[in-house]
Symmetry: C2
Subunit: 555 residues, 2 copies
């Protein structure tokens, strides 16, 4: 049985889900023993632990320059001492180009199925990947499991499904039959989706699989060969994915160099040399705006970016102010504000927020918000797990700098104890109050757990600021609270012009930071936060070219 026969139903279900856009998940998000097996968690932790301090050999890639690796656990603030094959750029490119000419000739249906098979294998490693993610990104256990495991796999499946659909959009061949009056001109026509060549995927330190697998699988399903260049600080989770892809390729008799891992170090990075190599035709990038914008400007490349943004929350009127404060406190605390969708700027009219019980003043809201934050982080059963740790020690310094910004410091960031890792790098959210005239201060991303309460003249000014931030600096998410239908439409319309998705009136167990595969587009591609959107049709279409052939029908 070919992999396509094995996975055809799954692929078609996923294609259908792309259109339905209601809830769909192939990979269960709960690390439940009932789903994944009684020993899955323990086995995963042990498997991760057994890798520490050793060369990671599962990739089966031949190094040209020995073994390297500089990952550190933010929970232990200690090196992991895991090393990976160090391969020079020319060798990476040569291996990739050779494999490309084999891979591009594999029918897209079989390519899709091989990639789905790799996800099924990755599923067996979700717990191992979760621990690898914790100890590189510093995420809490639950997020590490969900984001790097099932959610990432669903996003990858989404990209496979989108590619499958796009490549099946036109007939492989047809007869063009044009009536000319007394006779017909008949041409045999055929079309091929021709991949662009070698693709490069550049990963980030906070979501090493979730942010990288969409581009990786999108490039692969459309027939490009791919070089996965992880962030030097977060290699292992995506290395596990690449290893599984290579395993399935090898089993299918296909050169595994179709998908390579290209590890580097902070001291000697290979990113620019790879990105500017003339053979690299497609680039996916997650990371800072400056480098992302540089990549977007490279001539002759198809570039997909997710960069940074300034995400806003507009507070106008609410049904239950305590529930709102609780929901937003969680959004700010979750993974210590290190999500690209985390809210930063909270705009509140100086007259306060309308509620069924009258106006809640800015100060009253601030009190409730801070109380919710403290309640969450000081709850030993929640705080350490929701916050996780700070991935990069520079972020800790940046929080301290943010606290010195002009404005009123309402809540200082501090550390809390992690019951399992006493050396964990933890920082709770800082909250500042500013005025709308302090625009210079809040017109930039303050990466990490920093929330700014900004007093505005009215909701109209709040929306104008949220729109301006998105248009000028990018935005990946927006929260808005209003009980007025006209105001809601006004916010939707204005934020749509800034290409920013809006979550209205969220309370309870759903947060504006969360983007679900098969339903929420992640990054719209319409503002400076990035030009990619996974997974819309462009996200796969631009990785290949439709080329047509025609010939008179032989009589």
């Amino acid at each position: 049985m070919s992999f396509f026969e094995k996975h055809e139903t799954l692929i078609k279900k996923a294609v259908n889900a792309l259109h339905e856009r209601t809830f769909y998940a192939q990979y269960p998000e709960h690390p439940s023993p009932k789903i994944y097996g009684e020993t899955a968690d323990v086995d995963g932790r042990k498997a991760f632990q057994s890798l520490v301090g050793k060369p990671y050999e599962a990739l089966n890639q031949t190094p040209t320059d020995g073994w390297i690796g500089v990952e550190e656990s933010p929970y232990m603030q200690d090196p992991l001492n895991i090393t990976y094959p160090n391969i020079n750029v020319e060798t990476l490119i040569n291996r990739s180009e050779k494999a490309f000419h084999e891979w591009r000739k594999v029918h897209y249906k079989e390519r899709a199925a091989i990639l789905v098979e790799s996800l099924e294998r990755v599923k067996q490693k979700f717990f191992e990947i979760a621990y690898a993610t914790m100890h590189t990104t510093g995420q809490g256990y639950m997020m590490a499991f969900q984001a790097s495991g099932p959610h990432a796999a669903d996003r990858a499946l989404e990209a496979i499904a989108a590619g499958f659909e796009e490549m099946s959009r036109y007939p492989e061949s047809t007869v063009w039959d044009k009536p000319m009056g007394k006779f017909n001109i008949q041409l045999d026509k055929s079309w091929r989706p021709v991949p662009k060549g070698v693709a490069l995927v550049i990963g980030c330190s906070t979501f090493p699989t979730w942010n990288s697998v969409p581009g990786l699988y999108a490039s692969l399903v459309t027939g490009n060969s791919a070089i996965m260049k992880p962030h030097p600080g977060a290699v292992l989770p995506i290395a596990m994915v690449v290893a599984e892809i290579r395993n399935v390729l090898a089993e299918s008799g296909i050169d595994p160099e179709v998908c390579q891992l290209a590890v580097d170090t902070f001291d000697k990075t290979n990113t620019k040399e790879l990105a500017t190599h003339k053979k690299v035709k497609v680039i996916d990038f997650t990371g800072n705006s400056e480098f992302g914008t540089y990549l977007e400007g490279l001539p002759g490349k198809t570039v997909f970016t997710e960069k940074t943004g300034v995400n806003s929350v507009v507070l106008d009127s609410v049904a239950n102010v305590d529930k709102v404060a609780a929901n937003l406190a969680f959004s700010v605390a979750l993974y210590s504000g290190q999500m690209c969708t985390a809210p930063q700027n909270f705009y509140i009219p100086e007259s306060g927020i309308s509620t069924p019980d009258g106006q809640v003043s800015v100060e009253e809201f601030e009190e409730k918000f801070i109380e919710q934050i403290n309640g969450l982080v000081d709850n030993p059963k929640a705080g350490p797990f929701v916050l996780g740790t700070i991935q990069n020690k520079n972020t800790v310094n940046r929080i301290a700098e943010a606290e010195k910004l002009p404005g009123k410091l309402l809540l200082k960031s501090r550390s809390i104890e992690n019951p399992m890792f006493n050396n964990a790098r933890v920082a709770t959210p800082a909250v500042l109050e500013m005025e709308s005239k302090d625009k210079e201060q809040f017109s930039k991303e303050l990466f990490g757990p920093v929330a700014l309460i900004i007093k505005t003249k009215d909701t109209k000014e709040s929306v104008a600021l949220a729109q301006e931030m998105a248009e000028a600096y990018g935005a990946l998410s927006c929260g808005a609270y209003t009980t007025n239908a006209d105001t809601k439409e006004f916010i939707a319309d204005q934020m749509s012009l800034a290409a920013t998705p809006v979550s209205f009136n969220l309370t309870g167990g759903i947060y504006l930071n969360q983007h679900a595969g098969f339903s929420d587009f992640h990054v719209t591609g319409g503002n400076p936060a990035g030009n990619a959107s996974f997974t819309n049709p462009d996200y796969v279409n631009r990785r290949f070219t439709w080329v047509g052939f025609r010939e008179p029908v032989s009589k």
Copy 2:
């Protein structure tokens, strides 16, 4: 009845045709009195003649700086003295932006139908447009009718259909219903295709409607307002289209400034000022590579280009060499080689072309080819009408320069008499022979009726050269002649890597220069000839952004 009710069936038929890719035409290509009416031709000619020497008032646009116009008829080498409203850039942009906010709120289904209605009105003017095209581009009557009338209208309809399909791809709203174990999280979700803003379409002098209406209609259907900036030498044909779009908008109670004509002159061009204006978000361009590449590099804009290329013909083996020579002679002569798809470089192995009757030497083929060219251009019933005239007098000088290139001049360009216009600017094809080592000479576009026969070592070298030209300088078409199945697949595969469509073994009444709407993608977007492809999904998708909204279902 809304226009959508009127045109829904037509739109859905066109969407279906996008997928079928067999022959489909909404607008009949034959200027037949049976189809268009007994007096349509005479009426059209008179209507055109009545416009000469006057201000063109049908646009109903208010000038800011008087009236301008510098068109000349290549058939008479005399100014037409037709003038158009001269509107400064700031006014164009302000009018466009104001209209944008009205147009973007018209539902895409109604937008599509309004645009289809405009095409139905344009259909009533096909003959008028044909004469306007003849006397600006210099095309022969038949091409002027077909290319500027029905073929352009079909391409516009194709763009409308593609936009319609893309914008209907996702549900306008749905309920996202996620099982959480003991309860479900339910969100009302909705998505909007949000247009980017003001769009600019920059036309060319040779195909003023065919090359411009796809971008114009694609931008409009997706909700952008559009400024059509024609080539100063070929304004009238597209002015007629814009006038009809404005008429239908006004009748629908919509600000006609949704679609404006922005005429300039050679001395005082407005192109760069328009293209670089910060409010212009989408640009379509047909023209020279240098300016097109400059536009592609403008940051923050979505740019679609069709630039120039070096189109190749690979001659390996043929069933009937005379038919092949005749077909290629016509391709070279048609509109004097001024089509972007016209072949220029003809690669033949030095050992000649295989035929069922043995090898035909390069010299024998050259003789046949030249005989066919001369037979065609010297036939008074065919020559003047197939050649048309030379649009730009600089092209005549360039032909003379091309004749001086190193190589063997086999056929000199000359003029022939046009029975209706004795001052017509006519130039017949020039043919030169070169060696494959003369690559520097043939590695550029020689715009106009210039054919180069290039002797190669073998077909492998021919294909390598055709591929190299396409990859380095772009190509919009390729002809190939081979009776060997392996060679055919080799050519298809190699040219597919250069993103160049290939027409195999064409003889009789179908030519490699012709690209049919709803079947042949025009420009693949995969080589330097341009980044657009009409009409593939990208061609419309990139003109708008999907933005999502979500909110808990109210209980």
